[in-house]
């Protein structure tokens, strides 16, 4: 695989994740799309690390994985709480606050 293709792959994944965040209404799907965006970052880091012959990129991937896990944990904890009080996990149900 050439480096350019990996860069394109990561960009496409990032855009798919972005579309998912923007379009989907279910919070869980939105979180999955966010994970997709972060993993696009990981692909870019790893391939750039290979291309540049520096190990930093692979180190950063570990950091990004940790960030993603922590983010998911807090998001899921909040989703559970929202589910308990609101009873739904659709974004459209979160509309008490506006303007």
């Amino acid at each position: 695989m050439s480096y350019q293709l990996l860069v394109i792959l990561s960009f496409v994944l990032f855009v798919i994740g972005m579309i998912g965040v923007a379009m989907r209404r279910n919070i869980i799907i939105v979180l999955i799309s966010l994970e997709l965006m972060l993993n696009a970052v990981n692909i870019l880091f790893v391939s750039a690390s290979k291309y540049m012959h520096t190990l930093d990129g692979q180190m950063f991937v570990i950091m990004v994985i940790t960030i993603a896990a922590a983010e998911t944990a807090i998001a899921l904890a909040l989703v559970v709480k929202v589910f308990k009080t609101v009873g739904m996990v659709k974004i459209d149900d979160l509309k008490k606050l506006k303007w």
């Binding site: 965040v21 965006m37 970052v41 909040l78 709480k81 929202v82 606050l97």
Partner: protein
């Protein structure tokens, strides 16, 4: 094997981290009332502030050039720790009232402080992201701290999703820059960029810078990336709203200033133009929408968006004076907004209401001193002398005029005239409207102490700003060297 480890480079962080451990242990093994945890936290933050003052003047880069301890990071350490100190003081009674077994409030506050400190002392883009995430991930649960309040959870959820998008953007921008230059160290990037002229038109590089800018704009809530701000600010418990407006904003701006000074000055992209538009739109939108608000927390949320725009005016000018005026602005805003939210904390009731404009009516009759102080804070936010807000705006706009951005300065002054309307409406409500019968509780000692510290800061920065401005200048110089 040789290790580049100089622990004094992270001494303030170590103090906050150790405090976090001690507080966690005490919280885990203590009974229902959690104010002792808060007291320990206060002592820890106090020790952190003293260590930062003690270390003033040192310049250490360590941990494989991942973090640096210079006057810039120290000044921002002090800013965010003052915000944390006032917030903890204000919350001592609030936490026990709101949530049984709510000791995690202080722990999350400490860990977000830790994240902010790594954020402003980072010299590597990855450490910036780690600090930013530690800060944000601790703030999300704090926004949803009052678990049974639906708006609180809603604000937290929206903040989390948009914050996570911002992080993804920031990370992708960093990865793009890494894929071009093979490094994420700020100083190395600056060195490569200043020698390699062919990078100027590099599309991937431009995209990377743009992504990073977007990510940061989300975090400091510049229009059009501000959508989460009013919801999160209104939903959050009042002390946390103050903390977010003061410390989160100051720390994120610290990182932006650092990146702009070190990296973007040697990279010829139209960053100043982009910031020009962002700041103009932000000042306008924030102030206009704030006029329409009935809820004071939400009004101050939009006002905080507008204030982010004023800070960016300092960045646009691009000179050392402009950058220092931005730092000064952050410090003055920290005092003013934490003080204002201390008073709102006193008014907020257990079910989350009590921050409507009508809840302020007639406050002056029952609490003349508190109302007077609130009026001073509002005047400071509006930028009326002799308060900190006036000096901050004066510095920022004069920096813009010196750099030739006269239009932006005039626009900023016009928008702050608009802002006068809604700040004075609170003062009007307190002094000239009849109260609707308020249950009169005495002001808790913690809130009184927090309000007085904030008031001292506002007056000090308003009357004798030159010393603090000198410190801000020194801090910016320490970055440029």
């Amino acid at each position: 094997m040789h290790f580049d480890l100089n622990y004094s480079a992270i001494l303030p962080q170590i103090i906050i981290g150790v405090t976090l451990f001690i507080s966690a242990t005490i919280d885990a093994f203590s009974s229902a009332r959690k104010w002792p945890v808060g007291i320990i936290t206060l002592f820890g933050i106090g020790a952190g502030i003293s260590s930062a003052v003690y270390l003033w003047g040192s310049n250490i880069v360590s941990f494989s050039q991942m973090v640096s301890l210079d006057e810039f990071s120290l000044l921002l350490f002090i800013t965010v720790m003052i915000a944390g100190f006032i917030t903890v003081l204000v919350s001592l009674k609030y936490v026990d009232d709101m949530e049984p077994d709510g000791g995690h409030f202080y722990l999350l506050l400490l860990s977000s402080l830790l994240g902010m400190m790594f954020l402003v002392s980072a010299t590597n883009l990855i450490v910036i992201v780690l600090g930013l995430e530690l800060m944000s991930l601790s703030i999300y649960p704090l926004v949803g701290f009052t678990r049974d309040r639906q708006i609180s959870l809603e604000g937290a959820m929206k903040y989390l999703i948009l914050g996570a998008i911002a992080t993804a953007f920031l990370l992708y921008g960093i990865a793009l820059i890494y894929s071009v230059l093979g490094t994420t160290n700020l100083y190395t990037i600056a060195r490569i960029l200043s020698t390699a002229q062919h990078m100027t038109g590099n599309l991937v590089m431009m995209a990377g810078v743009a992504f990073i800018l977007i990510g940061f704009s989300f975090k400091v809530a510049l229009v059009p990336f501000h959508a989460w701000t009013p919801d999160a600010y209104q939903g959050a418990p009042a002390p946390i709203t103050g903390f977010m407006a003061a410390a989160v904003k100051a720390a994120s701006f610290g990182a932006i200033i650092k990146v702009v000074i070190i990296v973007l000055q040697s990279f010829h992209v139209p960053v100043a133009e982009a910031l020009w538009w962002l700041s103009a739109v932000t000042m306008f939108t924030g102030n206009i929408i704030a006029v329409m608000q009935k809820n004071v927390k939400r009004m101050l949320a939009y006002s905080s968006i507008a204030h982010a725009g004023y800070v960016v005016v300092g960045l646009v000018s691009g000179t050392a004076f402009g950058m220092s005026s931005a730092v000064f602005y952050l410090l003055s805003y920290t005092f003013t907004i934490t003080g204002s939210f201390a008073i709102i904390t006193y008014l907020e009731k257990n079910d989350g209401t009590g921050s409507e404009l009508s809840d302020f009516s007639g406050l002056a009759k029952e609490h003349p001193i508190l109302s007077l102080i609130m009026a001073v804070f509002m005047l400071s936010l509006a930028g009326i002398p002799p308060t900190a807000g006036f000096m901050a705006k004066l510095y920022v706009f004069s920096a813009a005029i010196k750099s030739g951005y006269i239009g932006l300065a005039i626009f900023g002054i016009l928008t702050s005239v608009i802002s006068l309307y809604y700040y004075l409406r609170i003062v009007y409500a307190m002094y000239f409207e009849e109260s609707e019968g308020r249950t009169d509780t005495p002001v808790p000692a913690g809130i009184a102490a927090g309000v007085f510290i904030a008031l001292w800061g506002v007056i000090q920065l308003g009357i004798l700003p030159s010393d603090i401005m000198n410190f801000a200048m020194q801090s910016i110089q320490s970055l440029i060297h």
